[in-house]
Symmetry: C2
Subunit: 217 residues, 2 copies
């Protein structure tokens, strides 16, 4: 299969599961002009470790045309607060997962690969509509119909929370020390933005030692 | 609404219908590195005529990662033959419509636009799986779920053939003389590729005078 690899915790754990379970052939990252593009370097290191090719899709022009998201619009600040609906709403990138999944399904088809995996999880359901189980089911059907039955989509973590994903990844030796979460995207994890807090909390709840250096934590 | 405007006959007729029927606000073209990128100039002229902004999404990097389609891979020749399944199969771009529709739905959401129109039609159903009614229904659902209910997709011509579209567009004064169909993408329509033949045939069957100069016809 091909795995959408952002370079964060969840998709890196998905790579570890895919590597164990089945025929892991390709990692796909999407550069949509996100502030935290440093995560693509992380994706590259993870793909190297698993000895699979990484295709980086440049969708920056699409990202630029989406005004108003803190992740792509430099005029909108990243919320430094808890990871909840109100504070994170500004980080929604309109229809991000649908766009990335359909682009990735096309690439998979061209490679003769039958599944695209995405690491969306239950902790994102409230904030991001395109991480919910009903969205994934619909996207899988759209990819199947759009590719004439050649490619489908799977979300192995859609019913897990981030702590369960960290526990699962840790059991399989996922290289979490290579991963990146911070939405700010500087040299080290800020430790105060919503995703940094969510990251630290997931390690804590999973009972796994957090290898991350947090600047301000 | 926003209309996916390739610069061809069908999407230009869709613009004419949208302009008559409802709140036409935006045209969206996608540059996926297609050989016939000349169609984007046509899209620009059509959008100017209707006095709406045109957003051109640069998805060329995605297009480059899709090997094996005659439309994006320079090593694969365009079939010079009839517009049928066997000869046109090589022009399939994997999951093209799903990718373009989901990217466009994100742009629409960012603009506060609730509908994305696509001009897929019944003549393409056999060749292109992502032009069929069941695909459109699924893509509409995926866009709705992916945008939290903000954007849906409509395909006003999904049950029409190309001759009916030409007749419909002609009645509304669609500027067919500005449009482009030829997959070869040189200065004039070649007149021998599958899409040129399909274009000439549609005018003929609709009983509408064809404004196109065909080089070799």
């Amino acid at each position: 299969m091909a795995v959408l690899l952002s370079g964060g915790l969840d998709s890196t754990a998905a790579i570890a599961v895919a590597d164990r379970e089945a025929d892991l052939r390709l990692a796909i990252s999407v550069d949509y002009g996100q502030r935290h593009r440093r995560e693509i370097d992380s994706a590259r290191r993870v793909a190297e470790m698993y000895r699979i090719p990484l295709t980086v899709l440049d969708l920056r022009d699409w990202g630029r045309s989406l005004k108003g998201s803190a992740l792509t619009d430099p005029s909108v600040p990243v919320p430094a607060d808890s990871y909840d609906v109100d504070s994170m709403a500004v980080t929604v990138v309109p229809n991000r997962n649908a766009t990335m999944l359909m682009a990735a399904a096309g690439v998979a088809h061209a490679w003769g690969i039958e599944e695209v995996w995405t690491a969306v999880h239950s902790g994102d359901h409230v904030i991001y509509p395109d991480c919910r189980p009903e969205f994934i089911a619909s996207a899988a059907q759209t990819a199947e119909l759009g590719t004439g039955g050649h490619v489908t989509i799977r979300a192995p973590f859609v019913h897990m929370d981030k702590a369960q994903i960290v526990a699962t990844g840790a059991r399989l030796g996922a290289p979490f020390e290579l991963t990146w979460s911070c939405y700010e995207g500087s040299e080290t994890h800020c430790g105060v933005c919503g995703t940094c807090r969510e990251r630290a909390d997931a390690f804590d709840r999973a009972g796994v030692i957090d290898p991350t250096f947090y600047r301000k934590a």
